[in-house]
């Protein structure tokens, strides 16, 4: 097993507001990213997966803090705790875009509407690699070519609105790869795309990962995508990582009721006669401020029992590399009946 590239240890993120109590949006998350591997971060909207990903690049809003935990990154010059860097410091900026880069969900709005694709990619190359504008543009064109944009030279002078969604996302990827980063964070990169484009983009990402050997943090709510691209999976619910491990292991034997429920809500291709009703998760995600002290899933869990609301379940190893946070794994059934 490779040396981890980035480890998030026991990280919490809190948001403050002028007239409300602070809210812990992410609590005690542990994640490990390894070169050449993809970690998928899965969960419903609002569960904190994007916040976690952005924390790695310190791109959080200014009312967000990381009060505890560390984000250890093996930079070229040694290990850095990103959690302790100032967001606008030189050290942080040297990592951003250069060693860790990010792809966003909306390729349209994530690209500046008033600059050409080429300009936007050139910029990052000039910034980190100190190339002349001319050379940077050559590199940009080869990158665009590499991500499969036809007529890359012409397209580099195009504005985002002149490209289709798929091409835009390819351009976005080209931008992210411009400095051959060690870690690529992809925040739902395929959500806004249609199905065929989605598959092409996933293919591209997989292939690029193979070419560049980078680690990838892939955020999605689509378990199908996870199956296609991930090596490891971490399932988040309302700020907690409830289950994580090898993707096959977790898919094969989900231990946390939430993971199980997620699995059940994905339709499978079956003969009509064999189809069973999908079991959607009951209720909706509560607001973080209504989250119980204990397991966040309590309010929607079909198995909820006595310790759930008041006591936070520990990380419990299920099998090597497979961990879940659920009282069901540590408490005996009798208590549940009691």
């Amino acid at each position: 097993m490779n040396q981890p590239l980035l480890s998030i240890k026991d990280m919490s993120i809190t948001f403050s507001s002028p007239d409300e109590a602070d809210i812990e949006a992410v609590r005690q998350v542990d994640l490990v990213l390894t070169p050449g591997k993809t970690l998928a971060l899965v969960g419903e909207s609002g569960c904190g997966k994007s916040v976690t990903a952005r924390a790695v690049l310190r791109l959080l809003d200014k009312n967000a803090r990381i009060p505890k935990g560390e984000i250890l990154y093996d930079a070229e010059g040694g290990r850095v705790d990103i959690a302790r860097l100032h967001p606008d410091s030189t050290a942080m900026r040297a990592i951003r875009g250069n060693q860790i880069s990010m792809i966003f969900q909306e390729p349209m709005s994530s690209l500046s509407p008033v600059h050409t694709i080429g300009d936007q990619i050139d910029e990052i190359i000039i910034l980190h690699q100190r190339l002349s504008p001319k050379k940077a543009r050559e590199r940009t064109i080869s990158l665009l070519d590499q991500v499969g944009i036809p007529g890359a030279r012409d397209r580099s002078n195009a504005y985002p609105f002149e490209l289709s969604g798929g091409l835009r996302q390819r351009a976005m990827i080209a931008m992210a790869l411009a400095c051959t980063p060690k870690l690529l964070i992809a925040d739902e990169p395929t959500t806004a795309l249609d199905v065929t484009t989605q598959a092409q983009i996933l293919d591209l990402l997989r292939q690029l990962q193979a070419d560049f050997g980078m680690a990838m943090l892939f955020i999605t709510h689509d378990l199908g995508v996870v199956a296609e691209i991930a090596d490891d999976i971490a399932v988040m619910y309302l700020g907690d990582v409830v289950e994580q491990g090898d993707v096959f292991e977790v898919f094969r034997a989900p231990k946390h009721p939430y993971t199980q429920a997620l699995m059940n809500s994905v339709p499978r291709l079956q003969r009509k006669a064999e189809r069973t009703r999908l079991t959607p998760i009951k209720g909706t995600v509560p607001s973080p401020k209504d989250r119980p002290v204990g397991c966040a899933f309590t309010s929607r869990c079909p198995h909820a029992f006595a310790p759930c609301p008041g006591q936070r379940p520990e990380r419990t190893p299920v099998s090597p590399g497979h961990v879940a946070r659920c009282h069901l794994l540590t408490h005996v059934r009798e208590e549940a009946l009691a």
Binding site: F15, D19, I23, A25, D61, N63, T284, S287, P288, K289
Partner: protein, 378 residues
């Protein structure tokens, strides 16, 4: 480092499960803008002054005194030193020593610390009706002997009390702003509303007209209209005519806002739903659409008031607006519009200070309202 401060609820959950009432939410957002909150109180204070002018003004704004032309401000002192050297509480103003300098054609004044004129609070006054309703016969402050000088903010060229004139002028100036905006609002909502709701040729026609009016410099319009006003109108008629002139130009901005809101609301689901339910247009507009953008309208209207107040002063400056003996900030400033005043009676610029403060306050208040009503900008 991001810029926008979102509440955690907004940061975490895009779909808000529990809906706070629109107004409460707005008020909460409004409170974040502290400058707007302060401004709100300033605006309220000024309107209270306007409403209770008779009670607050120490004297009749028209009462003149030959002995005190251009008398400087006295200021109010609260303590007097007794013969034993001890200080006791006695609100008072000091008298003047003055002499006439014939060569220079003026009176010179020196505040006389010896002469103490006690100030009474809730002093008796000529009977009047407070805010036009409540019969009263006291005023906030006054001096016992009406012949004693009482010029807290100084006197003007006829020896009239500037403070009293300022207080009464507040009434005219602020109400002209309010009335002008009210009228503009009426035109704006009716015209803009129709344009936005029905769209089509009417909408484009209205928009062209609005663009046209906005492309005209306002001064010639004012001048032309003000000059065309029947000259034998009395003060009240002139006042209303000025209001109408101001709102004839002012309605365009409000109409634009209203139209914009109507256009965007027209396509929203709840309106479509109401239409499908067979609700009448009138019902849809009044029951569904108007309540949902009242806050924007209030904000836009608030931001339109300062323009009206400034316009009133500008018209007075050009000699076309309200004229003496009407007392407004514009006419008061007109008196202060000369080197002589700047050089020898700067206190007569006090109406200018009021204008500045009120304009700033109304602007910040309106901006705060707009921020709160529409967190995502325009």
């Amino acid at each position: 480092m991001a810029v926008e401060t979102l509440t955690p609820a907004e940061a975490m959950a895009p779909a808000k499960p529990q809906r706070e009432s629109q107004m409460r939410l707005m008020w909460r957002r409004f409170r974040q803008h502290q400058l707007a909150v302060i401004s709100l109180w300033i605006v309220v204070a000024f309107y209270l002054v306007a409403a209770f002018a008779e009670f607050l003004a120490p004297s009749d704004p028209g009462a003149y005194s030959a002995r005190y032309t251009y008398a400087p401000p006295q200021g109010i002192n609260f303590f007097v030193q007794g013969e034993d050297g001890g200080w006791s509480f006695q609100p008072h103003v000091n008298g003047y020593r003055s002499e006439v300098d014939q060569a220079a054609m003026r009176r010179t004044f020196v505040i006389d610390p010896e002469e103490i004129i006690p100030v009474q609070f809730f002093a008796p006054a000529e009977p009047y009706r407070l805010a036009g309703i409540i019969p009263m016969s006291v005023k906030l402050m006054g001096v016992e002997n009406a012949r004693d000088p009482f010029y807290v903010l100084g006197a003007d060229r006829l020896g009239r009390d500037l403070l009293s004139r300022l207080i009464h002028g507040t009434r005219i100036s602020l109400s002209i702003g309010l009335a002008g905006v009210g009228l503009s609002l009426f035109f704006g909502i009716v015209i803009g509303g129709f344009a936005g709701y029905y769209g089509g040729w009417f909408d484009s026609a209205v928009m062209r007209v609005i663009e046209f009016i906005r492309s005209l410099p306002t001064i010639p319009l004012w001048l032309g209209l003000a000059a065309a006003m029947p000259k034998d109108w009395n003060a009240v008629q002139t006042y209303f005519a000025i209001t109408i002139i101001l709102s004839l130009i002012g309605w365009t901005e409000l109409a634009r806002v209203v139209r914009g809101r109507f256009l965007s609301l027209r396509t929203e689901d709840f309106v479509t739903a109401a239409q499908l339910d067979g609700a009448s247009d009138w019902r849809i507009i009044t029951r569904h659409m108007v309540p949902s953008f009242t806050s924007h309208i209030i904000a836009a209207a608030t931001l339109a008031i300062p323009g009206m107040i400034l316009a009133e002063t500008a018209l007075s400056f050009l000699g076309l607006g309200l004229q003496a003996p009407i007392v407004s900030w514009g006419t008061l400033l007109q008196d202060a519009q000369n080197i002589r005043t700047l050089a020898t009676a700067p206190w007569l610029l006090a109406p200018g200070v009021c204008v500045v403060v009120v304009i700033l306050a109304l602007n910040f208040f309106g901006d705060g309202l707009r921020d709160a009503a529409d967190p995502h900008g325009r």
